[in-house]
């Protein structure tokens, strides 16, 4: 059997390695996406002071520290049995919306977008943010840099630091928002609403206006029929910061809706010896291996997962675009993996609209931002990270030191699906050892759509992963090296 090894040159944490095995006929037999990383947070957080958890766990990911910060703080609210004041919840949600503005902008323009804006088969050296600027214009490039920075700045006003914020406490946040900072956030949010509208227009013009791309989005190689999971509010609308976990099946029918604290009744994780990442699945179906379709317990999270799970968006501009997406792609659920990009921009619109709503809320500058925690115990906190459902589960001892920590992070939830997406793309695209760069990039696009955060380092990228593919024959003799 031949092996094609797709190996990011570094092969270290933050990357995935892909082994593609070809059979005697030169067709893809199987594909393994391996995660070479582990840092062991669930172990070394034990024994630490509980109030440090929102700081310790931000170091899981420097790109989405706000998600870990608030999943952690919500787990502590529950563990200390305390309900934060209304203003504190709003401040957290405002900071959370700001984080989505920054993170979704980063992904669309720096990482995933270049495949479409510049083109999947464009020269590799153009398929990056600089290529996007070249194609879309320098003024647009400046807008991108500006709004990514706005997201960070708004986060900093509330969190102290944008990368690795510190404001979260069980029962609230550390400091009220000043009127001056509120006004500044309002101005940035207003600008972000327009920037999101512009980004969607760009997507319509460049991607949806091109039948080649639309065909690609709809093609079988990028289609996976899975369950979907996400947080929803009381009206079943998408919510990033709070709500119940809803799961829909391959036909978008609700099969589960549960409180965060019940997650262990519904989710379990499978371990493979060839990867440091675990593979979650729905307990009621069980682990059936890497299969999709009606009998599969595998679910997807993240932008498309959330939109498929919910009944709509809670703000008007985002809702209009939500309806348009499902109308265009043939109704719910959308199983087309590349539609993650569209869903991500709809969420960018929602995040900006929501940030503006909250910045205008009179209660947002209330001084009442801290409630007194009760006795330490056990708690689960769930938020929607940019990349999907994020679960923190803590058990505290009587001194409020950590006794037990369980984490299921966003990309882990998507890991089984990403493995399948990469496999299916490889099966559809690779025939024999005729592997060129275009094919390579098309295989990559299957996982790039998820904005994967393997080890939290990879998804910041100003372009694409440099790859080396080695094709071996059955004696492991090197036949061909394709690289870029």
């Amino acid at each position: 059997m031949k092996e094609i090894l797709i190996d990011p040159i570094t092969r270290l944490e933050g990357h995935g390695n892909i082994s593609i095995f070809l059979n005697e006929q030169g067709e893809v037999e199987n594909v393994y996406l391996k995660i070479p990383e582990l840092r062991g947070f669930e172990q070394f957080c034990v024994g630490r002071r509980a109030e440090l958890m929102p700081l310790l766990t931000t170091r899981i990911c420097g790109v989405c520290p706000v998600a870990h910060h608030f999943a952690s703080v919500k787990a502590l609210d529950a563990a200390f049995n305390v309900e934060p004041p209304s203003a504190a919840k709003k401040l957290r949600e405002l900071m959370y919306a700001a984080y989505f503005i920054y993170d979704h902008t980063l992904h669309f323009y720096y990482l995933g977008g270049p495949d479409f804006v510049v083109g999947p088969d464009a020269p590799p050296e153009k398929r990056n943010i600089l290529g996007v600027i070249e194609k879309a214009g320098l003024d647009i490039g400046k807008e991108v840099i500006k709004h990514r920075a706005y997201g960070q700045k708004m986060t900093e006003f509330i969190g102290g630091k944008a990368t690795h914020p510190v404001c979260g406490l069980p029962g609230g946040v550390s400091k009220p928002l000043s009127e001056e900072n509120r006004a500044e956030i309002g101005r940035m949010a207003e600008s972000s609403v327009k920037f999101a509208q512009f980004s969607l227009k760009l997507f319509h013009d460049i991607v949806l206006g091109n039948t080649k791309y639309v065909d690609l989005i709809k093609s079988q190689s990028y289609t996976l029929k899975t369950n979907y999971m996400g947080l929803v509010d009381e009206n079943n609308k998408v919510n990033f910061y709070d709500g119940k976990v809803r799961v829909v099946d391959q036909n978008a029918k609700e099969i589960l809706k549960f409180e965060p604290k019940e997650y262990l009744n519904h989710v379990a994780e499978h371990v493979e010896p060839w990867s440091y990442a675990k593979m979650p699945y729905l307990k009621k179906v069980g682990w059936k291996g890497l299969v999709d379709g009606a009998d599969s317990g595998i679910y997807r999270v993240g932008p498309l997962g959330r939109l498929n799970t919910a009944d709509g968006m809670a703000t008007p501009l985002a809702q209009a675009e939500y309806e348009l997406m499902y109308k265009t792609l043939g109704g719910k659920p959308v199983h087309n993996t590349l539609a993650f990009h569209w869903a991500r921009l709809i969420e960018l619109q929602y995040a900006a609209e929501r940030a503006l709503e909250l910045a205008k809320d009179p209660e947002i500058t209330s001084k009442d931002v801290r409630a007194k925690p009760g006795e330490p115990g056990e708690g689960v906190g769930i938020v929607e990270a940019a990349r999907g459902t994020l679960i923190h589960h803590y058990v505290l001892d009587k001194d409020a030191l950590m006794k037990d920590v369980n984490l299921i992070v966003a990309t882990t939830n998507n890991y089984p699906a990403i493995c399948m997406s990469v496999r299916d793309a490889a099966k559809g695209l690779i025939h024999g050892d005729k592997v060129d760069q275009g094919v390579l990039n098309m295989v990559e696009m299957a996982f790039r759509a998820y904005d994967p955060c393997f080890g939290c380092a990879t998804h910041y990228a100003v372009g694409q992963m440099p790859l080396i593919i080695k094709i071996y024959d059955s004696e492991r003799k090197l036949l061909k090296t394709v690289s870029r």
């Binding site: 062991g40 400091k175 801290r370």
Partner: protein, 326 residues
Amino acid sequence: MNKEKLKIAFYWAASCGGCEIAVLDLNEKILDVIQLADIVFWPVAMDIKYKDVEAMPDKYIDICFFNGSIRNSEQEHMAKLLRQKAKVLVAFGSCAHEGCIPGLANLHNRKEIFATVYLKSTSVSNQNGVVPQPETTVKEGTLRIPEFYDTVKTLGQTVDVDYYLPGCPPPVKLIANAVDAIANNALPPKGSVLAPLKSVCDECPRKKENKKISKIYRVYEKTPEPERCLLEQGILCMGPATRSGCGAQCLTVDMPCTGCGGPCPNAPEQGAAMISALASILGLEEEKDKYSNEDVEQLLSQIKDPVGTFYMYSLPSSILGRKVMK
């Protein structure tokens, strides 16, 4: 002036990606960097391959910014390779500098970590006790992943390092200063930490009244008065033992410093420096006679998890290094 452009490399090992974001947070200043230098290696950012680095002549790269600690076999390999290829190697950020929060894993070893993550975790279903292996044979062939080490090491414990840029992540101001120093050929002597020779307290605008304390509060137990020193209100703040450069950013939202800037210039053991600062503010130094041993013990026993508190960012680089495993 028609100088040849500098060759710069960025690299990360065991890290969270926050250091990369800190570089992006330079915003428009990043354009100055591109004016000044050619980026010759930036995995995922640039189309330059691992084998291209191996093919570079020794000392080809002028400056390599290396973030992340050394946690597995691949990272160790890359640290050694980049040391060989770079004239100047900068440990960028707390992980490369001191081991940072993931360095707390040195309180355990691989076996314990694997057992917790893959066997005992409440959501795991793993009756056969499967844990990841460097090599796994599947029906199609052999799959390999890097070897996970028992101990987290800093970059300086792995290879010779020329400069250190502290912080988690390094403050944008310090990165910009370092870039300017490189541009003007004004780097300090080898081995320097590229940060002000001050403590966080020196940058903190809060009022100090030299008050002694008798009780230590945890952050969620007390809402501090907004303008006053947190330590003097009984909230444990690592400011006195932590190097500045951040502008006391955490203090702006009424939260204490937890020490990410690493030790102050003349007190390389950050934890010991903090314990000594604490002894002084608890009144133990000046008023030794007033306190019995029991009083002292009672005061200090208020501090839960001293290792995780005083060495939150610096365990691998401290004299403690790691917990000795039986």
